[in-house]
Amino acid sequence: MRNMTILVVDDDPVIRRMLEKRLEKEGYEVLIAEDGYQARKILPQQHIDVVLTDLMMPGSIGGIEVLDIAKSISPNIEVILITAHSSVDTAVEAMKKGAADYLEKPINFDELFLRLEKIANVQSIMRNALDLSQAMDTTESAAALTIQNLEIRTAELQSRIESIESILRDEQNPPYERIYKVLDLLEQTDPTRYPK
């Protein structure tokens, strides 16, 4: 089990069957669509890692349209196009629109498996990075809350020290009066320490 789900989209039943068998043998989870319309139905309903689609298919949903649909659902879905030699230019255009790769017919399976392996590696690194960053976010927000509380508390205490200092330095008042004033201030500003 390779932990990757591949949607095969091809109107040719022979190629479809062959891809399905070979990919399953390699340990991939395989879903099948007989044309672009079926692919459009399946894509939003299932978790799919890679779409392997024929470029030219009957009807108005060809490989390029399947690519657009997949990328609009999630930019993380990788799309590999299968093309006839004559349509390589279109395939290159598709790469500009975000396709991961293209394969020329007849399909060389070693080549296909290599590309899938690469995609799997990148996706596992991405997942790992995402896990790490989520762990970092959690730690960071917990630390932030603690630091915020300390920061505000420290500022309050600092300003109280300043008030106390100015009372104590106020030579207009006799010393005992200054002391009473300070005690008053402490009582007002810290009810937890001086419960009534």
Binding site: P75, S133, A143, Q148, A155
Partner: protein
Amino acid sequence: MLKISPDELKLVAQYIHDISGIYLDQSKSYLFETRLGSIASEHGCNTYKELYQKAKTEPSKIIERKIIDAISTNETLFFRDKGPFELLQHKLLPELIDARTPGSPALKTNLKIWSAASSTGQELYSIAIIIKEMLPNISKYSIKLLGTDISDGAVAQASRGKYNKFEMERGLPGDKLQRYFTMFGDSWTIKDEIRAMVQFRKLNLMLPFAGLGKFDIIFCRNVAIYFTLPDRQKLFNKIADSLADDGYLIIGSTESLTGICPRFIPKRHLRSIFYQKK
């Protein structure tokens, strides 16, 4: 990977501090090796001492720039940590706009915001997106959004506004992605309407902030953590000089100014903290 000796560590750490203010922990030799090893081999240096001497004497400063690019951290995201952006949108901007709107409708409202360690630009673009969404009649305002960073590479990428999918992965809500970016291949480019609102340039925070003027809001998040305590004190003192009297400073959510700059007092809004001058 080329190994670094203890003597070289001392030498290189001091050099990096001199050119960037960044203080790298000398007990983490792997940090120096992973970040500088390839620059050394690229320039045919067999030791880090050789690299240091070359970087110091080379007139074009190319190696020095590469070293700064390599050691400065560019971990940043669009809307990294929601708090500061909610704070900006719901409190700081509305208050500033009230305070800055001139009596005569013929005059524009001036606002200057600075992202002091803008890295690859995500923070400043996030700010620009918020402003764009908040102010439908944006032509009534004169808004200056400046991003600065010590790394030439980061400034260049920020100016291009082009990001790969790893850089887009988190933070950015889908609707904003569609609205403000154009996808091309595996990368995303910020649209011109947002790009035109911002400006990026190189600045070493350790040097004087000549000609920047005063800002209404300064973001200086997660950069002072790489500096020594005396350098932090100098930095925030200069930032206080560059901030309007009723302006706002936002630092990283796990940073503190206690014991660093008594000119600022912290204030709380919901789950965020911002600073104002006393």
